[in-house]
Symmetry: C2
Subunit: 531 residues, 2 copies
């Protein structure tokens, strides 16, 4: 289902002071030269994932004399984000025609064997990292202007001529990020999978940390508020780049629209601008990002500047309530994100997330010593918790339901737990019951899984949370993830919300939080992970 | 049939003095801004040539809001060579994905509807003027780095997104040439077709006059000696850019190989270099280019510098003679060009062209007062003329034959006439008889037609020559030529020597000579064309 929001009325309010604070915090990117590690040959078989049939050392590259339809696949050994330079030459007679080449950058191997021409999804195929290039004069040092996110690069000769062949003398990548992986000490544990999950989380986060916290360096290459919240949490426990969180908080705070809403995402180019997309849950979660930041930094100035913006989101959130104190169902629209699951009803979640945001609002008000706001929020939250139970709790099923069809989903239970509609003991019973019932409407994004893990921990199920984390993120590792993916449904590994995995992002910010959980909840004082 | 020459032994002798003379004569290109004239809509039908179903003024361009799969076709009103800048913008919400566009530059309309994916010819499909481009940030002024030769430009949106559309705000072309069409006064005649033929010849020549005389600005974008000879002749009668001829003569003279052979063509980039291609006829014709130049300019220095190079080609040409004084048949190789006609046997032509070159050699020797060379050339030419008659004249058929199968072609008769194997009266009878017999092995290139027209004129058939010129080049005009084509077979208008007309060149130097004939043989002192 195509899911976009286009607002007819969209009046942006730029807070120039906030934007200039953000601008001053713009990071310098760290540039690192990376060379390919090996040459691969692939074979398609009946599986979506191709088989590697041959490996060669990369110093064989120069010996490859490429004629029409020949191709080489370079493996850079890991996932990187950056800029590529190709040194191309000809052999044989003098070049007598343009060399016509095709480049394909792939985060995962199966992107190289997916038939792109068949792509007919609802997001732009412009996201597929391919280029058709004519090289009129060889030798040529081809400095590609675009940034790519990839591990594999296929170079295919569409045509040369009968008189000359192409040789790829060298390929270099200048990888970019605001941080270095080496800044973060590894966790100490005998558990290889946990070490790997931590590492891959950190690499995912690093590759998304550019001029802002991007959601995915392949796609969408912009900052979404929901992703920012999780990135910031992982960042505090790893790179500790607090200025980047501050910058992003000021950017969202400085680019509100209409009655003061925070947009769901910001574009960076040609200048930083908000998208005309309002996501109810994302906007409400701004306060949580702010509180996290304040708790990490004690930065009073930022709290004072941005507190009104956070509270405004709650005020706006409350305006959507009916007289019955529920949020009307807008599951048919791209309005309250929650998860990418097909058919997920988000009505109950939207109320739960409003309550969750109010919890953070109360804590922000406490920090600000704003007793009046604390007062009305505390009163209203009780009303809404009761409303959640009245409208969505199914006593018979012992589960929350959502929407006109009283849908039972994992997401609804998770968010009701995080909203603390019930106390911890009842939440614990609820999450265990949910696991037992295993509702058909599952979670498909690491974003939603993050909240599930969080809900387990907050319900006192730390051990189970660790198991679930290993099961979900660990399974991605088993499936070859160098960075964690935007979408992962263990029951349907080639699921895409867009119509094809060709446009899925395989390094996606919202999936980086295992490192946050491990380092916040499981690390001992010696830095070891408690088993 | 794939026709290329790859020499195993290829030792280039650079004459630095000659090359520096050539370098000093490098022209400054004249840059002229050109704007599109109209917007077109096409429909494919059962004919190769599509139908124009709609025309719009170009100021509607900005109003075209382009979604996925939409395209626009711009008509620049005439054939140009140059560099294109596109001003692109988005409408709708903020651009949230790369705009992915496809550009197709076409000399002729049918290039826009030809299915390129089906191209499987033997020359590189890299010559097809198409680009796939990602535009990450809109608005963008896209300055395309490559040079194109075209009249039509199709811009197709491969993808945008659900949230924004593409608008082409403006398209500009900076056309380049070493000369301006306005430098040449039009011929005066009531005959509209002749005026048009002259104009189109001049435009063809202009668009091929770049840093050297190129053969075709779309393909091959280099200097072939056979084309140079005809371009120089047309140039003397029109632009009079004698320095460019001088430059090109010095370039060929300065880049010989092996025993002193002149290569068939030169590449311009990355620096000027010869191709490892020897064409027997092209090398021999160098002396004719030199004599033409000397007669136009009286430039003694150039004559003295390059005379030895010209004579050396004849000496080398003679080394191929058998004891029987014929050139062995090498029609299966790309060795003696003559014409692109499928199955043409070139054995008799190669002897005829050797004799033709010797005629020019004798005249060059006279200019140089080199009596010794004149002496031996004059003696040898008589032997070869007799050999031509002995070996190739079929008394019964009253035609020249060629090769082991005694093939009768138009080309053989034409070159024997130009070689003056017979006297003018007998040549006249021969050409008229050829026309009557109409040999099945026809002429397909304007290059060969040039020699046919020349043969008619030299045989005293000026009126018929004019008729034939109007018939052949005029037919191209009727078929929509803005510039004259590389290949034109009136009996098979979509013939290509390469496997598809998609890679044919439709502005090709060797087709520009009607203006030479008109201005040399048909213009009165008042500048009118004699009817």
């Amino acid at each position: 289902m195509a899911s976009v929001c286009i607002l007819d009325e969209f009046h942006v309010h730029k807070n120039e002071e906030f934007l200039s604070i953000a601008e001053e915090l713009k990071p310098d990117l760290i540039r690192t030269e990376v060379t390919p590690q090996r040459l691969l040959k692939l074979e398609r078989n009946e599986h979506p994932e191709p088989e590697i049939t041959e490996e060669e050392p990369v110093d064989h590259l120069k010996e490859k004399v490429l004629k029409k339809d020949d191709s080489i696949i370079l493996d850079f050994g890991n996932h990187y984000v950056g800029y590529v330079t190709l040194e191309l030459a000809s052999v044989g007679s003098h070049q007598d025609a343009p060399a016509y080449i095709y480049l394909k950058f792939a985060e995962r191997l199966d992107e190289l064997t997916t038939d792109i021409s068949a792509y007919n999804g609802w997001i732009s195929k412009g996201w597929i990292q391919e280029e058709y290039l004519h090289v009129d004069v060889l030798p040529e040092k081809l400095v590609l202007p675009r940034r790519y996110a990839f591990r594999y690069l296929e170079i295919k000769v569409l045509d040369v001529s009968l008189k000359f062949s192409l040789v790829v003398q060298d390929v270099k990548l200048q990888s970019v990020s605001a941080v270095r992986e080496e800044m973060v000490p590894a966790i100490q544990t005998e558990d290889v999978l946990l070490r790997k999950i931590d590492q891959v989380s950190i690499r995912t986060l690093k590759n998304c940390m550019q001029l802002v916290f991007e959601d995915g360096p392949k796609r969408d290459r912009r900052m979404w508020l929901g992703d920012l919240r999780l990135q910031a949490r992982a960042n505090y426990k790893t790179f500790g780049h607090k200025d980047m969180v501050k910058r992003c908080l000021y950017l969202f705070g400085g680019l509100t629209f209409n009655e003061g809403k925070i947009p769901a995402c910001l574009f960076l180019e040609p200048e930083i601008e908000p998208d005309d997309t309002y996501l109810y849950d994302y906007a409400l979660l701004y306060g949580s990002v702010l509180l996290d930041y304040y708790q990490e930094t004690g930065d009073e100035k930022t709290l004072q500047d941005l507190y009104p913006v956070a509270i405004r989101q709650i005020e706006i959130g409350l305006t959507y309530l009916t007289e019955d104190n529920v949020i009307p169902d807008r599951s048919g629209e791209f309005w309250c994100f929650v998860d990418w699951g097909e058919g997920l009803n988000t009505q109950a979640c939207s109320l739960a997330i409003l309550i969750y945001a109010m919890r953070y609002g109360i804590r922000l008000a406490e920090c600000m010593k704003d007793t009046q706001t604390k007062q009305w929020l505390s009163e209203k939250i009780q009303v809404l918790k009761q409303s959640a139970i009245d409208h969505f709790w199914d006593e018979g099923k012992q589960l929350f339901v959502s929407g006109p069809d009283r849908q039972i989903s994992w997401a609804t239970q998770v968010w009701m737990i995080l909203a603390r509609v019930f106390d911890q003991e009842k939440n614990r019973a609820l999450i265990l019951h949910t696991i037992e019932v295993n509702p058909r409407i599952r979670m498909v994004t690491p974003y939603m899984y993050h909240h599930y893990i969080d809900a387990l921990i907050r319900s006192g199920e730390k051990e189970r949370a660790l198991e679930e984390m290993k099961r979900y993120w660990g399974e991605m590792i088993h499936d070859g993830a160098d960075t964690f993916w935007e979408l992962y449904n263990p029951f349907n590994k080639y699921e895409s919300p867009y119509g094809s995995v060709a446009v899925n992002s395989f390094c996606h910010a919202w999936s980086c939080t295992p490192t946050y959980f491990l380092r916040k909840f499981y690390l001992t004082e010696e830095g070891d992970v408690k088993k």
